[in-house]
Amino acid sequence: MTAQAPLLSVEDLRVEFPTRTGLVRAVRGVSFDVGREKVGIVGESGSGKSQTGRAILRLTPRPGVVTAKRMTFEGIDLLTASERAMYDIRGKRIAMVLQDPKFSLNPVMSVGKQIAEAYRAHAPLSRGAARQHALDMLSAVKMRDPRRVYDSYPHELSGGMGQRAMIAMMLGTEPDLLIADEPTSALDVTVQMQVLAILDDLVSQRGMGLIFISHDLNLVASFCDRVLVMYAGRIVEQLRASELASARHPYTQGLLAALPRIDQPTTELAVLRRDPAWIDGPAA
């Protein structure tokens, strides 16, 4: 996997927001490559993991400023690409699934129409073919009644169903890279497993690259190939997911220790003690 040229290469990415009280540095010099593999970005709220995902697609909200030494996707320089070029990349070659379907779906258009329209924007499909493809994708994400979901409006779906509809929309265009920001946190654990299995297949069978942004360490450890741990806008540790248990950075260790576990009873959970030195200290 890593022997091939990476799909995405990011070097020294910074995202900054000027505010009345000064400059907020949300992402402070992040570097990583993503191949045809599953890369997890974990961290707590405010760690900069979501802003990292958004910056790749140039979706940083105003007045945020994105800079980097390099940010390339299959030879395309994402920093200098025109808006027209980005239009062809977003949704088609790099897709993104966001955390909250409530804010991502159009409230006054049926879910199925939105999905079919997204497919037609990126491929020459007839209305009928787009509709059939949307129904197929809705059943691929384990909707019990794809036809009913197709004709539903977003407010008629539960959070978990809305999230699966978004995933169906994003995966239907067969992107090369999928950035998934907490894609399964609104889902029940059993549905979550089934949706992850779909993503897993796309990576292993179609060679898609996946950036999986999550706060759930256990999930990332069991699902991804590699993990980047973010704290205060920086990657403090990069390791193979299978080696998460032997993490060296005290922040990663602290997060793991704070998790209650079904198999390991404790009377008191370890509380994370944040060390100011982590903010600018060396990565593990």
């Binding site: 709220s45 654990v189 059993t190 089934q194 360490l217 999930l219 069991s222 079904i262 008191e268 509380v271």
Partner: protein, 274 residues
Amino acid sequence: MTAAVRRQGRLPELDLASQAVLEVESLHVRFGEVHAVRGAQFSIAAGESYGIVGESGSGKSTVLRAIAGLNPDWSGAIRVAGEPLGPRRERGFYKRVQMVFQDPYGSLHPRHTVDRVLSEPLAIHGIDDAENRIERVLKEVGLGPAFRFRFPHQLSGGQRQRVAIARALIVEPQILLLDEPTSSLDVSVQAEILNLLARLRSQHGLTYVLVTHNLAVVAHMCERLAVMNQGRIVEEMTVAQLRAHEPGEAYTRQLLRASLGYDREAARAMVTFD
């Protein structure tokens, strides 16, 4: 059981086991056509911590809301310390039973200071000792007097949840109904709040009913649990059974398997239980 006795620490174990402080019998809740809770039944001893787990739509929160009096349309029997509850709750009920909600951002009035949030339950229940009680409860939840005159927007998510717990605790209830109390918090903050809840329970001899989708949280906090699916309690078990991976029902086994992390083979074998 007086506040003074509870304040001194754990109650004798024998006492706890013998009396049911909360009993639910053939509880049904309907929302129009939707039959959300179908004959739920359990009995919780004083000082016990009881978990209700299930996926979204299983009816777990609805059971809790029916107990709290937030859903008037229920049938069956709910008894607190042996006394049956009617469709409406008396003021005395809320002196005994308090609730903590999932979202600390939504459950605190944005324009009320912490002081006002904590004074209100005292005014409702006609308790005079406000000054001392507010100071004491803030200390107990680990906030201290500096937080007393802050507004919710000046607090982090974890601090807000501490205020919500303080608000529930300030009338010195016996039973706390906890609806996903840490689901919207970061892992490190969750650990702090769970530790706080465990400590408060042992100090005050509180009884907990904890609703969550997170089996690990239930395993950490409770002694027994009910597993709900589609409005029914499919299984009641001890946490020891859960830890030993010995659920009796196929549904619970699947839920447990899914909670242990991603597994390709297990994901393929997942089925829908109706």
